[in-house]
Symmetry: C2
Subunit: 363 residues, 2 copies
């Protein structure tokens, strides 16, 4: 029987007293280190059980200087991408004997800074973060200076010497758009989750159009779109580029409606993320534009539903689970002392061709 009630939790000293040995001996038995004679071993064991002794990890962390915890900082853990990534991180952490503390930032820099500060206070040993900004990263640099390794997930920072795990957004997008072009499409619209007010600029350099702005998944995907078109000598029409804030569904819907009902309406749409894909699909249906006969569509992320609809959607698939796993592996390599220079690891994506793209006769 263990003592009930919520009295103070028994400590090594309590067990030692009860077993009639020193704290050192009790500690050795309970902690499983050092050598203790069989009889005392048994006595301490017994006393421990009777008292219901359980080790105090905080005290141990205090003494040993490690908390066996890491932090995972993401935009929104309810988002399937981050939920899966988190699972990958937690799995690797668990295998290493570490726990994972999660914090949401809602893409707000201030919350992210705060999250990192709190994690450092809690003395976590490493951070996997999908940063809001890849340039405004002083807080991450501070973590590194304090000896806490940082691994970037889904984004790479040109100014922070940290490992990052990403996909090749530009190429993934170019593949998707290339697929549409090969099917004969020339007027291809793109739906991107970027706030137009802080969006990248489209700049003409010589005879080429370039997307200027810091590298971010959505921006890079837009770059891929532009590049694919130019490679095939197709003009990029601003009217076919739809920028909307990530959370602003109505804005995105309106964007698509305007695009599709305007002059020079696109025959195909490339949606650059899971939210945009949902919106594109739902809006096309609401407008009674048959997919793919009246409008072809390539989406991003292999969400469950993309094979449930008819026709099943062609999408660019990535693996957040794998990204999370690899990120955590890099993190633990660092925690274990790896000092190699920062690496950017690219996880492959795959264009899953299903039935949402129609052949388009060249005009």
């Amino acid at each position: 029987m263990s003592e009930k009630g919520s009295g103070r939790r028994p400590t090594v000293a309590d067990v030692a007293r009860r077993a009639g040995v020193s704290v050192a001996t009790a500690g050795r038995v309970l902690g499983g280190y050092g050598n203790v004679s069989a009889d005392r071993q048994a006595a301490v064991q017994a006393a421990g059980e009777e008292l219901g002794y359980a080790p105090n990890g905080v005290a141990r962390s205090m003494r040993l200087g490690g908390t066996r915890s890491i932090g995972f900082v993401a935009v929104d853990i309810a988002n399937p991408f981050f939920a899966s990534a988190m699972r990958g991180v937690a799995d690797v952490a668990h295998a290493e004997g570490y726990e994972t503390i999660v914090l949401n930032t809602d893409d707000a820099l201030e919350l992210e800074r705060n999250a990192v500060r709190v994690l450092l206070e809690k003395q976590i040993e490493g951070i996997v973060v999908s940063p809001t900004s890849v340039t405004d990263i002083e807080h991450l640099r501070i973590a590194q200076q304090r000896g806490v390794p940082v691994v970037l997930l889904d984004r790479h920072s040109p100014v922070l010497p940290a490992d990052s795990v990403v996909i090749d957004n530009e190429r993934a997008a170019a593949d998707a758009v290339g697929h549409l072009i090969e099917a004969g499409h020339r007027k291809i619209g793109v739906l991107v989750s970027i706030d137009p007010s802080e969006g990248p600029e489209l700049v003409t350099v010589g005879d080429r159009l370039e997307v200027h702005g810091p590298s971010r998944p959505s921006v890079d995907r837009l770059r891929g779109y532009v590049n694919a078109l130019q490679k095939h000598r197709i003009r990029v029409r601003p009217k076919l580029v739809g920028l909307s804030p990530l959370q602003d569904r109505p804005h995105a819907e309106q964007n698509l409606v305007t695009m599709v009902t305007g002059r020079d309406a696109p025959t195909a749409i490339f949606a650059t993320d899971n939210v945009a894909t949902q919106i594109a699909y739902a809006t096309a249906r609401r407008m009674h534009r048959a997919i793919p006969d009246e409008l072809s569509l390539v989406g991003f992320d292999d969400a469950d539903w993309t094979v449930l609809v008819s026709p099943p959607l062609s999408v660019v698939a990535q693996s957040p689970l794998e990204m999370g796993r690899v990120a955590a592996q890099r993190l633990f390599a660092r925690i274990h002392g790896d000092e190699q220079s920062p690496a950017t690891i690219t996880i492959p994506t795959e264009l899953l061709v299903r039935d949402s793209v129609a052949k388009q006769a060249r005009r």
Copy 2:
């Protein structure tokens, strides 16, 4: 400029030395308590900045005896239900100044026990858990005995005196089946994610059929199905009850195929969870059974995709986000000393009638 390099992190004592004051004074300034004269205040402040002082939460926890952390133990954080619930929990925790540690159990009791043990060692102050078993809960009882409040999410335990946040599974299911019955359906199949080998028993008591077995969401939903049928004096046919392990997709698919192609094939299906709903929908399509004309379907959980398919699916909607929030609120009430007797809080569900149920002429 702060000192770079990964030398030992500065402590209050370091700052004190540099500022030429006692540790007590430095502590008062750095920790923001007590009274310190303006000049020393400034000196300590400055010394702190120069050294890049940051408080050590572990030491603080050691001294004060609270870690400002709670644990969230779930089957699989990548599952949308738990991901949303987690978000709800983390939001409330964040508002209280607490962080959340997540652990996955994969529905394995041993992993759950381990998770709770680790959380207790880490001295978390409370646990929200969606337990694998509602009877095998010794580990949760231990947490309570140690003064760590436990709130059950999505399940209620008859043997653990803890708050629980659930939905009325039986009624939700009965509503769904009632809806089918009202539409004229008499042969209604049900798809449940229960391992047949450890499933509940269907027992005849008098002229009624009862589902025997401990309360669990899936079992209760099956109960609701049985009750709804019996209320309308419709015979429950074992052949129309499909039990499959949660993770075993092929098994579930086969179950449905057998059911639909057998004699007395159902005219409608009730899928009792999000996985079963996906499988039912996908399988119906694969078999070219038109929904709702040839087969009506009511699903569980208002997943995004249910409005993207055509026809949009009628479903029983629950709010995992809200469940997580409420669970965390109960938890913090306990942490703050609430001693009222354990409550079971039922979060409402809603039957969302869309277009996947056809009127069925009475024969």
